[in-house]
Symmetry: C2
Subunit: 341 residues, 2 copies
């Protein structure tokens, strides 16, 4: 059942049917109703494929994330999806597993399909190809929004980021207030902007409070729990181990917690821990992890809204949104042997 048959049955031309479908232009109410009735009766579904081909643009947005296992990205996707479906957009999801090569392939594959826009938390933040490709998309009229991570060569692109530096800063200041001086950070992959910014906040907080920054207290992992576990191990094996550890993201907090537990220690007792991004499950089971929280759903919503703004009117100005963070204290910022000032 296609537009032609409907036209025939309704005794009008395809052009008129098309007008009815897109309730555009002026169609005499009588004919409009007649056409609609025929469409109803025949359970007619217009072909999005044909529409896309003719229109040269689809109502599908591509979402590219580096790690579907990380709940942060699920929250993000939920925010995106919520706004997308309200505006009749569908969401094509791609997982790159933090692999820049795979990401490049994905971005190539997306090209074939005529997506309306791209929302991406990039893996290959320093991959020239990725940056070039995204810029190309943007220039050819397919808007790109960078979410959570900046990318080299992505200067003209819109961004939705968290206020990482300040979030991290707040966390470290709290640790200092709790009396900690030997404060470590388990950061992630250095090249990622959130990682870098969180480290900046860490450094600023220490500096402003007159605490010497010791490089041995800065450990670099890779956004995953396992590597964070190793980092924690290394930190706690120092001759003067830290009394407080700030973890770069949710999964990394878990890795650190795991090390503590396996070694008979407790967060908030033996060592202070503050994480970045909340871990919902822990709240159900009474593990009081203090965290820097940000609203990933909000980030997703904002990102999709920016995209829509570009799609509706060709708004060429690029917008940069920073989503605030807030420190949630639940007790793990303390340690038994450290007294608040």
């Amino acid at each position: 059942m296609n537009i032609k048959e409907i036209a025939y049955l309704a005794g009008v031309s395809v052009a008129t049917v098309s007008r009815v479908i897109n309730n555009s232009d002026s169609v005499k109410p009588a004919t409009r109703e007649r056409v609609q009735k025929v469409m109803q009766e025949n359970n007619y579904i217009p072909s999005a494929t044909a529409r896309d081909l003719s229109f040269q643009r689809s109502e599908v947005v591509a979402v590219v994330v580096p790690d579907l296992k990380n709940p942060f990205f699920y929250g993000l996707i939920e925010g995106i999806t919520r706004v997308a479906e309200k505006n009749h957009y569908q969401v094509l999801i791609f997982n790159t597993n933090e692999d820049a090569d795979k990401e490049y392939q994905v971005l190539q594959a997306i090209r074939e399909r005529n997506v309306a826009g791209i929302l991406i938390t990039a893996a290959g933040v320093r991959d020239k190809r990725t940056g070039a490709l995204l810029a190309e998309y943007q220039q050819s009229g397919t808007p790109v929004v960078l979410v959570d991570r900046f990318i080299e060569g992505g200067d003209g692109l819109d961004t939705v980021m968290a206020d990482n530096e300040s979030g991290s800063y707040k966390a470290i200041c709290e640790l200092i207030r709790q009396g900690h001086e030997r404060i470590a950070i388990i950061a992630g992959e250095k090249t990622l902007s959130p990682v870098y910014e969180r480290e900046l906040g860490y450094r600023r907080a220490l500096s402003e409070n007159g605490i010497k920054i010791r490089e041995m207290y800065i450990a670099y992992g890779n956004q995953m729990a396992d590597k964070s576990y190793s980092c924690m191990k290394k930190l706690m094996s120092l001759s003067k181990p830290p009394t407080a550890v700030f973890c770069g993201n949710n999964l990394m907090s878990l890795g650190a917690l795991r090390y503590l537990i396996e070694n008979g220690m407790a967060a908030g007792e033996d060592v202070a821990i503050i994480g970045f991004d909340d871990i919902d499950v822990l709240n159900h089971v009474g593990i009081p992890l203090s965290v820097v929280d940000r609203s990933e759903k909000e980030m997703g919503r904002k990102a999709m809204e920016i995209l829509l703004r570009h799609l509706k009117k060709t708004d060429t100005t690029s917008t940069h949104i920073s989503v605030p963070t807030r420190l949630i204290l639940r007790g793990s910022e303390k340690a038994r042997n450290v007294k608040p000032k």
Copy 2:
């Protein structure tokens, strides 16, 4: 840049270019290379939209799930995605939030786009419209695979389910072995097949072991943590509260655990708990929850594989796969005041 321009530049016809793209038929190696070179040089990307329109089928599969927040479903999606991308399929994801109406709308919307197939964990398992629509898809050549849940009117459809009854049975038998007799179950929404099957396993285990089934020990929730929390509260407020509780899914386990913790009780100490579906986070933080585990990734992989089989050769026979479960004991199946037989 389209196929026509490439044809012109390579000095051949569009048909030849098309043949090269789909490396089909016989094309003289020389011309093939020439065409490929031109495509390379011009950075040509074929239009999937046009291909889909001509071919009357796309390489996109729709995945419909009821709750993206539930880690089970993202495990499932990961399994699906993994197989999909290996076969050059892309994945369109829809979240229905357990809302049958929304699900129906989603399924309607999918119709417009020419998806190759549908993988669905249905929300409206008793909604005639849903069943009818899915059957219609199947008949019109768009294969449908039911994952995790049966659906009314979906008899001819392929299925990938877990062995719920047996998983549940094993869990309850273990509780009985641990000496429990007052064993409760927090089930979910009654109409869902996994819920029903898990209850069946529960009943069978009790019966076979000569333990009387008491309806007051059977609580019905709704797959979510909050409702499970209420169920737990009700159960523990009975004059003879259960000494062991079997929870219907991962989120429901969390709700139950939360009740215990808020009331100063511990799983495996004051009350025995066994959950259905593992909760990875708990393993990081040393909370030993015993669970019936199943591989959601495996379920996703199988589901996508079945779909592919249908797409490759029009294999009309419907297949039904049952993924095994296994009981993982970590200690929470015990209770201080209950001694193993």
